[in-house]
């Protein structure tokens, strides 16, 4: 029987499948990290989250 995967491992695996979206979101934040405010990169984040949700379902 394979060892139980911890939820955090599943989470990490799913996130790893979205490196393109993650780098777009990361770049959006880092472009001007002195003036980050709430939902500054909302569209990029939603794209990243959608990708993660899709990857987590598989």
């Amino acid at each position: 029987m394979p060892a139980r995967t911890r939820p955090i491992d599943k989470f990490a695996q799913a996130v790893a499948k979205c490196s393109t979206e993650a780098s777009v979101y990361g770049k959006c934040i880092v472009a001007d990290y002195n003036s980050v405010h709430k939902d500054k990169c909302l569209t990029e984040f939603m794209r990243l989250k959608d990708c993660y949700m899709a990857a987590a379902k598989k």
């Binding site: 491992d9 990490a12 979101y25 990361g26 934040i29 405010h37 709430k38 993660y52």
Partner: protein
């Protein structure tokens, strides 16, 4: 009214009705109020939990073992035999293990020198977490060193008599102490005269990558920040603190250890297994939200990530050596007694 009857009335009235006014001033209770930053009980629970899984806990001992080794190398510089040594905040007795390793002297002509543990007669390892302290009690290194484990009730009040120890060591545990000045003064108190205190602790820029990226993630996702990474002492502060605690002939230096991790989740899991997770009093209860974790992973990579896809985590170690004042101890010369201009020896021209 008859004045004769009114007189005694008037005479006695003020005395009878006198209200005893005791004047009091706002007085500060003895001892300065200490600022509480860390929840010591939470820290205790985290360490107990981490040590409850010995296999995983041993896997993440890479940092503590490395620092313990570098710290005990500094004992080589002191040409002395120590009768009774205290390891304050011992974690899983990493220092005891490091001391039993073959002598790390880099001199190739003396490769077969005995391990450092022969230089001390008795080591007391003290920590508040029993499970962490006794985790490796069955391993072979315990037989090679005269080791006593001592579970402390509270790491901020040391239960030892004055002038008990010939040296006090401490590796990677003092960064969770709330009242550092008081603990340093207590350590000074339990040392014998002219005995050294040698310690390593996380300081300054430790985990600055995680600190900054979590702040940005918190800010962008939730519109505010919550403390995730502890405030840590700076190198400059340590000199002052040691001096205040009464230590002489101070040496403070820093050493960065940069560890590469595959992703931020691996970093955070390792920190958790080390028992080094967040224990700040003002932290939010519960785990970090998934949205923030997701954002953090992306920001960490964009801001600090290595080209090969890994992420670096900096651990800045502050090493310090302080000596308790003793007779016949060498002292710095008074100011202005120098006879030689350092510029003549070191070279170096005029500053223009």
């Amino acid at each position: 009214m008859n004045p004769a009857t009114a007189r005694p009335f008037l005479r006695y009235l003020p005395t009878r009705r006198r209200i005893c006014i005791s004047r009091s001033y706002a007085v500060q209770s003895p001892g300065n109020p200490t600022l509480q930053i860390f929840n010591r009980h939470t820290k205790y629970l985290q360490k107990e939990r981490a040590a409850a899984d010995p296999e995983r806990s041993r896997q993440v001992d890479y940092l503590k073992d490395e620092v313990a080794m570098r710290l005990s190398e500094r004992l080589l510089d002191i040409n002395r035999h120590f009768d009774h040594v205290l390891d304050f905040g011992a974690n899983s007795c990493n220092i005891a293990r490091a001391l039993t390793l073959p002598d790390p002297d880099p001199d190739p002509s003396k490769t077969s020198s005995p391990p450092l543990s022969t230089r001390l007669s008795h080591l007391t390892a003290a920590d508040s977490s029993r499970t962490m302290l006794y985790r490796d009690a069955d391993l072979p290194f315990n037989k090679e060193i005269n080791l006593t484990r001592h579970v402390l009730d509270d790491e901020e009040s040391l239960p030892y008599e004055a002038e008990t120890f010939d040296a006090v060591l401490s590796s990677l545990s003092m960064h969770w102490i709330n009242d550092l000045p008081s603990v340093l003064a207590q350590i000074n108190h339990i040392l014998k005269p002219d005995a050294p205190f040698i310690a390593a602790m996380f300081g300054g820029d430790t985990l600055f990558e995680l600190r900054t990226s979590l702040q940005l993630a918190d800010m962008e996702r939730r519109g505010g920040v919550s403390p995730h990474v502890s405030p840590l002492a700076d190198v400059r502060d340590m000199g002052g603190l040691l001096q205040k605690a009464g230590f002489k002939m101070l040496t403070v230096d820093v050493d960065d250890i940069i560890v590469d991790f595959p992703d931020t989740f691996a970093l955070m899991q390792d920190l958790q297994s080390m028992g080094e997770n967040n224990a700040i009093l003002g932290r939010e209860p519960g785990a970090i939200k998934r949205d923030v974790l997701l954002a953090n992973e992306a920001i960490y990579r964009a801001l600090h990530g290595n080209e090969d896809g890994t992420i670096p985590a900096t651990f800045r170690m502050i090493y310090m050596i302080g000596w308790k004042e003793g007779p016949n101890q060498s002292k710095p010369l008074p100011r202005g007694t120098g006879q030689v201009n350092l510029a003549d020896i070191l070279g170096g021209g005029e500053v223009k």
